[in-house]
Amino acid sequence: MYDYFFTFRTVTSAQSAAKTLTRAGIRNAMARTARQVQQMGCGYSIRVSANNYNAAKDALRHAGDRFSKIYMKLPDGSWREV
């Protein structure tokens, strides 16, 4: 199972989203967005497990937390946009 990464333009948006997920009982971790998938240069991502991906997406959309993109990190270290 792969982890999913929601990317955000700013640390503040990522923090708001992390709070939303935590409130929804979804485990998450915030980190810098990998350079390979940065759209605009520098940003933050929230990682969730594949099991929680759909619930996380729904929770963020429901709360109005605007993420930029969603990526999967593949076993070979590459990224695939979802």
């Binding site: 700013t10 923090q15 915030m30 980190a31 605009m40």
Partner: protein
């Protein structure tokens, strides 16, 4: 020292503010500049302050921008919406933090003048002056010189009805009076962190209904690949490294205000104000500026002593006051005190009735010597 100069800055702070500032200085690095624990601790400290400010002032976290002080915040607000030469309506009680930026951009300033402590006349004056073609209204919530509480809710309603953006200077009201970004419909609300919010100096907040234009350009930790500033809040208005320890302290200050509640702090200051008014009204050679709609700020002047000399006398007896024009010459013009200036005493949640009694004792000594 008995500190009665909280309208300039509150000197006494909750103990938690000192502790949090020191802790943040030891543990926090830069916000949005890394993923290591020190960077994330900084991000958490700043974000939690945004949350608290949003809670106190009825705003979303992304509508809260941190500034160096209220002056910085007002400069951003004014320069975001007032075009050069634009018509701007102000009250007659504005601070230089409002009047100087307006002058610098060549705004056509129209004053909605009214007597002190007359909310009805102030509202009527705004009603007359908020005419079509007005680029913005800029209004203080409370006069920093006289403590006059302006009818900001009514002014905000007028602005909303006429489609005129409003900038509120909440420098003297944040932490003691209700201030709501959502309810007021204001375009911006500016405030310092170091007065009624009990944070450290070097902190300020700008609440932005719909973003703003940057006063400074630079690194934000976002959109780094582009030369333009990000078009999203709060990054658009927060170039450069944040005052993280200050903002952490500000969060502790806001926590204190939320715990005590602005209503109770206001009531406490009102009690001290009434006590001080009673003390000073006993001297016939003093002119007091007092009214119904007044916060915990009281100005007075002596007929036969220069205000700066009087301020020095109080200082000699261990009472910290503020004398002169208080960076608000227009307020003094409106009240007819421009030539003389006034001595101002102003309270915080940390002042006590006993301090006012000691002040009464000092007044007896100072005024007997005249």
């Amino acid at each position: 020292m008995i500190y009665f100069d909280s309208a300039a800055t509150t000197l006494q702070k909750p103990q938690s503010v000192f502790a949090v500032v020191q802790h943040a200085m030891r543990t926090c690095s830069s916000v949005g500049r890394g993923g290591h624990p020190a960077a994330m601790a900084a991000a958490d400290a700043v974000y939690s302050c945004r949350e608290r400010a949003g809670q106190l002032f009825d705003a979303d976290v992304e509508q809260v921008a941190f500034t160096l002080n209220a002056t910085h915040a007002l400069n951003i607000a004014i320069k975001s919406i007032v075009p050069p030469g634009g018509r701007v309506v102000t009250s007659g009680f504005e601070h230089n933090a409002v009047t100087r930026p307006l002058h610098a951009i060549g705004a056509q300033v129209v004053k909605a003048t009214s007597p002190l402590f007359s909310q009805e006349k102030t509202l009527a004056a705004f009603e007359r002056q908020l005419t079509p073609g007005t680029a913005a209204a800029v209004c203080t919530h409370v006069s920093n010189v006289f403590g006059y509480i302006l009818p900001i809710e009514g002014i905000a309603r007028l602005c909303k009805k006429r489609g005129i953006p409003l900038i509120i200077d909440a420098s003297q009201s944040a932490g003691t009076l209700p201030v709501s970004l959502r309810e007021s419909g204001a375009a911006f609300i500016a405030m310092p962190g170091h007065k009624g919010l009990y944070g450290p100096q070097g902190t300020g907040i700008l609440l932005c209904a719909n973003g703003g234009e940057p006063l400074l350009e630079g690194g934000t930790g976002s959109n780094s690949a582009f030369l333009e500033m990000p078009d999203f809040m709060p990054d658009r208005l927060e170039a450069g490294t944040h005052n993280v320890s200050g903002i952490a302290g500000l969060r502790a200050g806001i926590d204190y205000v939320l715990f005590r509640t602005p209503q109770r702090i206001f009531a406490h200051e009102q009690h001290l104000l009434q006590q001080a008014r009673q003390v000073l009204s006993g001297y016939r050679n003093l002119q007091l500026y007092a009214g119904d709609s007044q916060s915990g700020v009281l100005s007075f002047r002596a007929q036969d002593m220069d205000c700066e000399t009087l301020g020095q006398e109080f200082a000699r007896f261990g009472i910290a006051t503020r004398a002169g024009l208080h960076c608000a010459p227009q307020a003094h013009e409106s009240a007819g005190t421009f030539e003389s200036g006034t001595v101002r005493i102003s309270f915080s949640a940390f002042n006590t009735a006993n301090e006012v009694r000691q002040f009464a004792g000092v007044c007896r000594r100072v005024f007997r010597r005249q």
